[in-house]
């Protein structure tokens, strides 16, 4: 049996999903800085792109089967508030739109990163190319 997956046809516009939460630690920052060399701003202790990277991983930890993402197409992103070490973030996803292409389709997913107080830390839109079911079945 193959694992359940969410294809383009299965995606429901306006569906909202919440991820589990994760506490951002010194260890995350140290690993991230070793990997990327991104330096946090003077006023902060968490580099700004790190919460975005962690949000995409959290996005796979929801109840729905994973989307069959063939490519990450684009990103439109805003940073509202700095996150600090010790803060606990989670993310909310809402499917804004879907558009069928010949092969697969484009799905726009609005992601919001919230902190432990429910305040919006970062927010934006991901565009994914998602596989259609038929193509997969006939491949």
């Amino acid at each position: 049996m193959t694992a359940a997956r969410t294809y383009f046809e299965d995606i429901v516009v306006d569906r909202v999903q919440l991820t589990p939460a994760i506490t951002v630690t010194e260890a995350h920052v140290a690993m991230y800085q070793g990997l990327t060399r991104e330096v946090p701003l003077e006023s902060s202790d968490v580099p700004d792109v790190l919460p975005l990277c962690m949000a995409i991983g959290l996005g796979w930890r929801v109840k729905d089967p994973p989307m069959v993402v063939q490519a990450f197409v684009g990103l439109d992103w805003k940073v509202m508030k700095e996150l600090r070490v010790g803060d606990t973030m989670h993310s909310r996803s809402r499917i804004v739109s879907k558009r069928a292409l010949r092969d697969g389709g484009l799905v726009v997913d609005e992601r919001t990163i919230l902190d432990q107080h429910g305040e919006v830390v970062q927010q934006g839109k991901f565009t994914f190319l998602v596989a259609k079911r038929q193509k997969e079945a006939s491949a």
Partner: protein
């Protein structure tokens, strides 16, 4: 010691920088999967990826976006940045393990903000691979302090 940071007033429209190259390794991809929790098969299943158009695992798009953020700090003197405003970004080509990427960045807009002590600097950033192909491209907004 002199402040090495560059303030809004000193940054000129049209300035361009190019970073050193950075080879994206298997270790980078594995570490990023562990750090981000993104274990999508695109990045972690070598056997499955042999059956796709890519032929092999590809680096996470966000890994390369994060690497360019680090490359920016090796391309030019640091800005007196107060905040990162946001970005608009396109992932154009896959980056494979062993590819070498570098960043080209250009100041395309400078704007005053409501608060008089700061301004917005928009950079166009292009990530190129070893074949000079554009793999990612977009614009980033930085809130930068004014000197006066």
């Amino acid at each position: 010691m002199a402040d090495p940071r560059r303030y809004f007033d000193e940054i000129e429209l049209g300035e361009e920088y190019e970073s050193p190259g950075r080879t994206v390794t298997e270790a980078d991809v594995v570490m990023f999967a562990g750090l981000s929790g993104d274990y999508n098969v695109l990045h972690t299943d070598a056997e499955f990826m042999k059956t796709t158009i890519f032929g092999e695992r590809i680096a996470h798009g966000l890994l390369c976006l994060a690497i360019q953020s680090g490359l920016f700090s090796r391309a030019t003197a640091p800005y007196a940045t107060l905040a990162f405003g946001g970005l608009r970004w396109k992932f154009k080509l896959p980056v494979k393990i062993g590819d070498t990427i570098r960043l080209r960045a250009k100041v395309i807009e400078k704007k005053d903000l409501d608060k008089p002590d700061r301004g917005l600097v928009t950079l166009e950033r292009t990530i190129l691979n070893q074949r000079d192909e554009i793999v990612q491209q977009g614009q980033t907004d930085l809130v930068v302090q004014k000197r006066s």
